[in-house]
Symmetry: C2
Subunit: 189 residues, 2 copies
DNA sequence: AGAAAACGTTGACATAAAGCAACGTTTTTT
DNA sequence: AAAAAACGTTGCTTTATGTCAACGTTTTCT
């Protein structure tokens, strides 16, 4: 049950078996259906999720009713609604599985306790933040000032798994273009 | 010379005078002119900057010659080309002062040494990353799927100092719209 | 201080992408 | 298994925004 997580942690930091066990013991397994909401718009986020199996996405719905996908996370990565998790304010976004998934969940209290108690976990958290920051940056810069075709090409290059795992509608809402436009672009390569 | 930095640090973490001195002693003062390049496109970033006075921006130039402003930082905040600073790869972006500035610079080696030696500095770095991540996220979401007018309104609401400090041209390149469009929008409020 | 360059604004025009609608296909529900 | 809903694709029309150019103003440079 913890093998994917353990592998992930070991790939990032040097760690002894005891600390690793302590970390893993804080995570609870959650099996979900497809399209299950993990966090609602006005909820405060209290869990960090590690994806053992499946995929999740973060999205909002704007006032005119359109979905806007913010982020997708797949097997073997951490994800949560971080601003809400950190600041304990209403998320103003949704966290949702997009396929049948198995998630390892850790509560915020346990999470910050591990950060405090286990230096390697603090280091791990720092690396997750660094990576998250870099990915967010690259996305801003990858999209900024580009037209629909360039954005699609950018995603194909930098997040090739995205179009394989995610519906056209969701991908379009991630790219900030309409499903029709994405469909037309795809037909031209 | 270190008063703004000390105030910033004290506002984030509890710290004794000795550690604070040790931190400050790693920072070197750099006085710059307006529009001075701190980091060139193909350079590897080796410094973190704290802005004592002035403003800096991060930008790139796309193949068709257009500038794209990624980020602005003003007095009292930290800034660098983080992906390059972390991964030690060519930045593929420019770091530039946009007015006469006074910067406190710390080398990458000293920076990571402080992270290792002084727990409060590690905490500070984590907070900077968290904040940076949240700001990057909010910008993605604030801009995604919105038209030019909504983006301008978003910036007015969330980064009101931006239009005061930054030229129309730079602001437009940050918003991902043309200077003409920004000008037209401003004239309608 | 004067010349040169960069900037901001505005108009006319071109264009990429959105909206809408129709239709067939796939997926979900019961 | 049948019915209903959601999805993907494509044509037509509309619209927001970019491009180009002109002009006056501000800033920079020497």
């Amino acid at each position: 049950m913890y093998s994917v997580l353990e592998k992930f942690i070991k790939s990032k930091v040097e760690i002894d078996a005891q600390s690793l066990d302590k970390i893993c013991s804080c995570f609870v397994l959650l099996k979900t259906k497809r399209n299950q909401i993990l966090l609602d718009y006005s909820q405060v986020c209290n869990f960090y999720y590690f994806i053992n199996k499946g995929s999740i996405r973060l999205f909002t719905i704007s006032k005119d009713g359109n979905e806007s996908s913010r982020f997708f996370a797949f097997q073997g990565s951490f994800a949560t609604a971080l601003p809400s998790f950190i600041d304990q304010l209403p998320a103003e976004e949704y966290l949702q599985t997009i396929e049948k998934s198995e998630l390892l969940c850790i509560s915020r209290a346990d999470f910050y306790n591990l950060v405090k108690e286990i230096p390697q976990f603090a280091k791990l958290y720092t690396e997750i933040l660094e990576l998250g920051f870099i990915v967010a940056q690259k996305r801003i810069y990858g999209f900024q000032g580009f037209d629909a075709l360039d954005k699609v090409k950018w995603v194909i290059k930098h997040q090739p798994q995205l179009f394989l795992k995610v519906s056209n509608k969701m991908a379009a809402s991630y790219l900030g273009i309409s499903p029709s436009t994405l469909s037309r672009i795809k037909s031209k390569l």
